[in-house]
């Protein structure tokens, strides 16, 4: 029998209890919904998961690096390269490390330097006609330092200067690769799976 149909004191109490329970449930659910609609998360979480403004989820990876050292991004250099890779990279394979998504980042700890640096990178483009080139913009600590258009599947060596002003006295160098022409594996695939380049090696020299 429905609680509300009962006229006995017990039935009335049960009915009141039922309404009370329904009210408590409804209010609790509204409060939880309100909390969920106002997430209490940091900027990295928000950018990647909620706003989706980046495909590269920032992580606290920092690799140690000494200028003059060439870091291989092939399988043979996996250990050192892994420490530098913040996000936007797949695992290394025999001929390099694929970029993943629209941005990739490397972060490395460097000693104090009085002058700028020269970066030398070996990269190849991911090409799938009609996409025959890959434009890559490289920034260091937020300052754009180089833009290159890759058009070969074979490794291409590029070299560019990083002005001292770009990192000044910072002990950490963050190198960001932005890709304008990344290729998704299928038209409906997520942007996080786009491929643009394969990084083969990375080197910094003082001066």
């Amino acid at each position: 029998m429905p609680w509300s149909d009962s006229l006995s004191p017990y039935g009335r109490a049960a009915s009141t209890g039922g309404y009370g329970l329904a009210l408590v449930l409804a209010v609790s659910e509204i409060i939880i919904l309100a909390l969920a609609l106002n997430p209490d998360v940091n900027a990295d979480y928000r950018a990647y998961y909620i706003d989706r403004t980046t495909t590269c989820l920032n992580r606290d990876a920092v690799g140690s690096y000494t200028p003059g050292q060439t870091v291989s991004f092939r399988s043979d250099g996996a250990k050192q390269a892994a420490g530098m890779m913040v996000c936007g990279w797949s695992g290394p394979v025999a001929d390099g490390t694929h970029s993943l998504g629209e941005t990739s980042r490397l972060r490395l700890e460097i000693p104090s330097l009085r002058d700028g640096l020269t970066a030398t990178l070996q990269m190849s483009a991911v090409i799938r006609p009609p996409q025959t080139t890959q434009r890559v913009m490289i920034s260091v600590n937020g300052v754009r330092v180089h833009e290159v258009t890759l058009s070969s599947k074979d490794p291409t060596t590029i070299s560019f200067a990083i002005p001292h002003a770009a990192f000044a006295n910072a002990k950490v160098l963050e190198v960001t690769f932005d890709y304008r022409d990344g290729i998704p594996p299928s038209p409906a695939a997520s942007k996080i799976y786009k491929r643009a380049i394969k990084l083969v090696s990375f080197r910094l020299d003082a001066g």
Binding site: L21, Y48, A189, S190, K191
Partner: protein, 412 residues
Amino acid sequence: MAGSVIEPAKPGSLSQSVAPSPVETQLALGDMARANAGGRLWVIAAAVPLLFMISGLVIRYAAFHSVSAVPGFEAYARALCRWDCAWYVDISEHGYERFPIPGQSNVGRWGFFPLYPMVVATLRFAFPFSTILIATITSIACSYAACLVAWPLLEKNMRAYILYCAFLLSGPFSFHFTTFLTEPLFVLLTSCVFLALKRSNYLAAGVSCALLSATRLVGVLAVFATVIQMFEQHRQQGGSAASFARWVLGRPDMLVAIFISPAGLFAYMLFLYLTVGDGFAFLHVQRAFGRVAGDPLLFLWDGLAAVPTKGWLPTAPQWSALAAITGLTLSVVLAARRRYGAALFCASSIILPLITNLASMVRYVIGLAPLMMLIAELLSVSKLTYLVILALFLSACYFITLAWIGGYLALV
């Protein structure tokens, strides 16, 4: 039947005589005969899934044994624990991560709902076995229980019941219902919701739905089936559509049933808010799994268009698209049979994941109990079809289990 030969008793005769009259004795015997027949039927209903539980184990173990050098039940359980199963093992053993995710991963466990891993974790405290062993036994128990709950839902149609039990426990996809995936509990709780609704027990339906919503996200959609059942009851009692809301507001038991139905989901949202800071983390983390919102029709078309480059077997996307289309078609059949609540629940449970892509679509469709019961009903109409399908289920179990162990993508 014994009851059919008994003459009706004259009015008042029962209260007037002290010693049982021949008619009373006949009536009592008739009742006993019916009770015995009902009891026998229940024994058979309990024995049928038991039989398929054993045959399913034998067939799947044979498939495992044909590709594995390591014998034993635990090795078998581990071999069948594929894809999402590993996530549930992790959740059961380690719980959910906070953010940042340890190991510099961007893929959190938040997308996997907590009830089933919690059940397994609780049982692990009581039994000194590995997680996968406990989960496998629990899954088999859940599927067995789901069969028993289906007995009254199938109107005690023995042929349909046998097919349904064979499908869950010895069928081509029985590994989904007997390993550490949410399907066993999901099917059991879905059946509980619809059995409670069939009996107009809204509170039981609400509590089952609350548990269902803590098992998988789409479980919360069963609340619409509850509301539809309430509406149908209201209309049967002569109420108008306009007065439905007022009628429900006058029934605190119905209000509790409605508001308790999504309680499992909301409890999980609160947990995620308190640990990760984001109550919708289970949705937001889908991005890290590559799920993007899009046009379901486009996903279906892309799936169908992914023709095999060699051979004639459909590709994994084609199987997934076909599963979704079949599921939606069966939902329409449910609606045509005036099972509106079940139809809406099944259709929305297919469309919701389809908004992101076709991944796991085969598993999602076969995990919808009302659809599988409908298939069992449809295929049991003819005795010949019933026997052919039964044989097909049992033989396909071996080969599809091999495909599952081999990592066939359509079965993910």
